[in-house]
């Protein structure tokens, strides 16, 4: 049985479901497939906590949201994309409201908003501190009412089918049965999210292995700005569980071992008792995570079994605020650290959280390959530039999920059906999975050994601060790891729910993406946003007001090109916080 649909969506999180609904609403006669390696409600959108930005207050404006986003991104954002984004974000959030999202409310019944890092106005909509969870479940439940959407739950896509540069389907493995099938179609939308699992310490769920980015890269699409990796300043030690920025937006402080609000030493403003927008603890994530590194160097952090930490102090907020605005923070601290933030300090450290980079798309979600679209964290459109602002990613996946869905639907109406030639590609891929992977058996080393080495190479070379020598060495080591991964042990030869096979596939994807990150970082000889080079400490607009574009070379390693940034109304300027 080979399946056929007009539009195939890979990934069932926020972007994928929003895209599916957009296709269904654009043309109900189009058949839509949502192919996801997990049940949609397990997708990592579920873990987003703090909120979703969209200007709605009378004292706010679209231009201010755009300026905060562009300056927060250190001018690497494409401003045409940002302008479309800020217009459509509030509309999308309202649509979610109409679909039932339980947004937190003001006493009069209107939507409530909260402050957020790097935002000059209060514009972050929230559903307590489980915003992503509610957004995902609302989208998933709403998607059930569209008969044209067919789901392939727990199907892992392993290859895109490409005919003369045109994408016309996928090959996927059904985990429950082990069946390997071609699902052909006119358009494919990638919505698989990020790849935080390339690093050892991350907020990202186990499934965030960059599958969609790798699928696009292997098919010949460009990966854009892969060197820009966001460290969130407040993760719990050991687990890496995220403590939302909303904790600081509600008034939380970051303290070093002397109980001192150290951010005042890093050009982020003066400490005030209450939260001040675009200042101190409400500065952007890149600057806060960098400040942490300097505190470590000064010996002003606290030692923990899992390395140096600082303290997040929420005690002065009191139980009432914490329980109404940050109940999940309290629950997570209690469960995973055995502490109560109402009475105790929360140990935190920077943690890999988000990929600004991803599959290069235009403002309609179209990649360079006909028939291939991408939206959400897997894509780089780019509204996030060199550093994403907190609460911009949820509206991004709605706005660009919807846009990609609409664009793919219009494309699918006119596109020719996939040529029969792709059947042969599907057969090749099935053979590869069966013979090279399922038939491999004992290899030289375990998958987990290679994965751990990749993670530690990336933490050392592509962390908060980088330098040319370390990056160059990392590039060599990753090339070697790629070869070793091809002969790692796969003891499990079963067809049924074989998670060793899927781990091997994910590892291959992650190593290739790690290489694009390291090569892109090596080429960018400047410091901008989340990419800080100790050997090139200044921003260099002359040479690098441009996106890095990574293409896969036949030998396997990437080739890096540059693409100018689109500037519409905000010429490059200084990033000013706290004054």
């Amino acid at each position: 049985m080979n399946a056929w649909h007009d539009v195939i969506i890979v990934g069932g999180g926020g972007a994928g479901l929003r895209a599916a609904i957009a296709v269904a609403e654009t043309d109900p006669s189009l058949s839509v497939a949502v192919v996801s390696k997990v049940y949609p409600m397990r997708s990592h959108t579920v873990s987003a906590e703090g909120g979703a930005a969209g200007a709605i207050r009378s004292d706010d404006s679209l231009d201010e949201h755009a300026y905060d986003t562009v300056s927060g991104g250190d001018w690497l954002c494409d401003q045409d994309a940002v302008e479309a984004f800020v217009v459509e974000a509030p509309r999308e959030l309202l649509r979610l409201e109409h679909w039932g999202c339980p947004w937190s409310r003001e006493a009069d019944g209107h939507i409530a908003v909260r402050p957020f890092g790097g935002m000059k106005k209060m514009r972050t909509w929230f559903a307590a501190d489980k915003t992503g969870f509610h957004l995902l479940h609302t989208l998933f439940q709403t998607s059930l009412k569209y008969p044209s959407i067919t789901r392939y739950d727990e199907w892992q896509v392993t290859r895109l089918l490409v005919d003369e540069g045109r994408v016309c389907g996928v090959v996927a493995l059904e985990l429950m049965s082990g069946r390997i099938e071609a699902i052909t179609g006119k358009a494919v939308i990638l919505a698989t999210g990020g790849c935080g699992r390339i690093f050892p310490f991350t907020t990202n769920a186990a499934i965030k292995t960059g599958d969609g980015m790798a699928l696009a890269y292997w098919a010949g699409a460009a990966l854009k700005d892969m060197e820009f990796v966001q460290y969130h300043p407040t993760g719990l030690p050991f687990t890496g569980i995220l403590i939302t920025e909303a904790a600081r937006a509600e008034g939380g402080w970051l303290l070093n071992k002397d109980g001192y609000r150290y951010l005042q030493d890093y050009n982020l403003g003066k400490p005030e008792p209450g939260p001040v927008l675009r200042s101190m603890e409400l500065g952007p994530r890149d600057r806060l995570s960098q400040a942490f590194v300097h505190e470590v160097e000064k010996g002003r952090t606290i030692d923990s079994p899992y390395g140096p930490v600082v303290h997040l102090d929420l005690r002065h907020l009191g139980a009432k605020v914490i329980d109404s605005k940050l109940p999940f923070v309290r629950e997570l601290c209690h469960k995973y650290e055995n502490i109560d933030p109402v009475h105790e300090l929360v140990p935190v450290r920077p943690v890999v959280h988000y990929m600004m980079g991803g599959v290069h798309t235009d403002i309609h979600g179209a990649t360079g390959l006909p028939g291939l679209y991408a939206a959400g964290e897997v894509a780089c459109v780019s509204i996030n530039g060199a550093n994403r602002l907190g609460s911009n990613s949820l509206p991004e996946l709605l706005v660009f999920g919807a846009r990609a869905g609409q664009a793919a639907a219009l494309y699918a109406v006119d596109a020719a059906p996939p040529p029969a030639a792709v059947e042969a590609q599907a057969a090749d891929e099935a053979r590869r999975l069966e013979r090279d992977l399922l038939g491999r058996g004992a290899g030289r080393e375990r998958i987990s050994t290679i994965r751990s080495q990749m993670q530690s190479i990336m933490e050392d070379a592509a962390g908060i601060y980088r330098d040319g020598d370390t990056l160059a060495k990392a590039a060599d080591k990753l090339r070697e790891l790629r070869e070793r991964a091809a002969s790692a042990t796969i003891d499990d030869a079963s067809r049924t729910f074989n998670t060793e096979l899927t781990a091997a596939l994910e590892l291959t994807a992650m190593i290739d993406l790690a290489e694009t990150m390291v090569h892109s970082a090596l080429h960018r000889e400047e410091s901008r946003g989340a990419h800080q080079r100790t050997d090139f400490p200044a921003r260099d607009d002359e040479r690098f007001l441009a996106h890095s574009m990574a293409y896969r070379e036949p030998a396997g390693s990437p080739r890096i090109e540059h693409l100018p940034v689109t500037i519409t109304r905000w010429p490059p300027g200084e990033r000013v916080y706290g004054r």
Partner: protein
């Protein structure tokens, strides 16, 4: 505290064996290790063939439910030290067909979820230009609890009725229907009544209450079901008294 604990993990490989067996593994016993960390240690260091689901490891994605020493638990939010000195027994969730090792089949639940029409139903939909539907914090509070379900299936595993009668709609699906029925923006309660008031709907529940005890997120499906029985009964009486009228 000993520095190791034995995990007795249920194995079922349909190509190899007809019924589940157990394998034993010794894993480090560390203060902050969840049961899931123990499973990951086995997978990474001892036996790559063990299959189980997990993802967020922070108790929100609902993937990692299993039966731990006889009780349905999220393995990411249940800690090994609570079972020291061990051994601790890990089995798949009860009441579901087993696919492989700790992985159970959820097809039946996914089908039931759609049956209760879990989306906002309105006679007239407002446009985006008209802004939001107003909803006061008190109105939000009415249904909020039932919107917290993570679909982890612990309640189905705990439910003796579902164990005996797989046709029973079950706790999470009924609680989700109530989540929409109680939402001030929704007008779809009549449409959901036909599904909920069937024998395998709310009337299947014998109010054992195990579902609410098993829920890791503080949802009270048993309460939702009891409350809905009153609604369904009232509707039934009304339709007898006023067969020509709207319910």
């Amino acid at each position: 505290m000993p520095d190791q604990i034995t995990m007795r993990v249920a194995r079922y490989r349909p190509e190899q064996e007809d019924t589940p067996t157990f394998d034993e593994y010794d894993v480090p016993l560390r203060k902050d290790w969840a049961v899931l960390d123990g499973l990951n240690y086995i997978k990474d260091e001892l036996d790559g063939t063990l299959s189980y689901r997990w993802s967020c490891r922070m108790g929100i994605c609902g993937s990692c439910g299993a039966t731990v020493n006889g009780e349905p638990k999220l393995t990411c939010a249940t800690f090994l030290t609570d079972y020291a000195p061990g051994p601790v027994r890990i089995e798949p969730l009860a009441n579901f067909p087993i696919i492989r090792d700790l992985v159970v089949e959820l097809t039946d639940f996914m089908h039931k979820l759609g049956k209760v029409r879990p989306w906002i139903i309105r006679d007239e939909e407002q446009t985006v230009e008209e802004g939001e539907y107003l909803q006061t914090p008190a109105e939000l509070e009415e249904y909020k609890q039932f919107s917290m379900c993570i679909n982890c299936m612990l309640c189905y595993s705990a439910c003796p009725v579902y164990g005996l009668d797989p046709e029973f709609l079950g706790p999470a699906a009924i609680a989700l229907a109530q989540r929409y029925n109680l939402d001030s923006r929704d007008e779809g309660a009549d449409e959901r009544l036909t599904v909920l008031s069937q024998p395998e709907g709310v009337w299947g529940c014998t109010y054992v209450g195990e579902c609410s005890r098993a829920c890791p997120k503080g949802v009270d499906p048993a309460g939702a079901i009891q409350r809905y029985k009153l609604t369904a009964a009232t509707a039934a009486v009304k339709s007898l008294l006023m067969p020509w009228g709207r319910r």
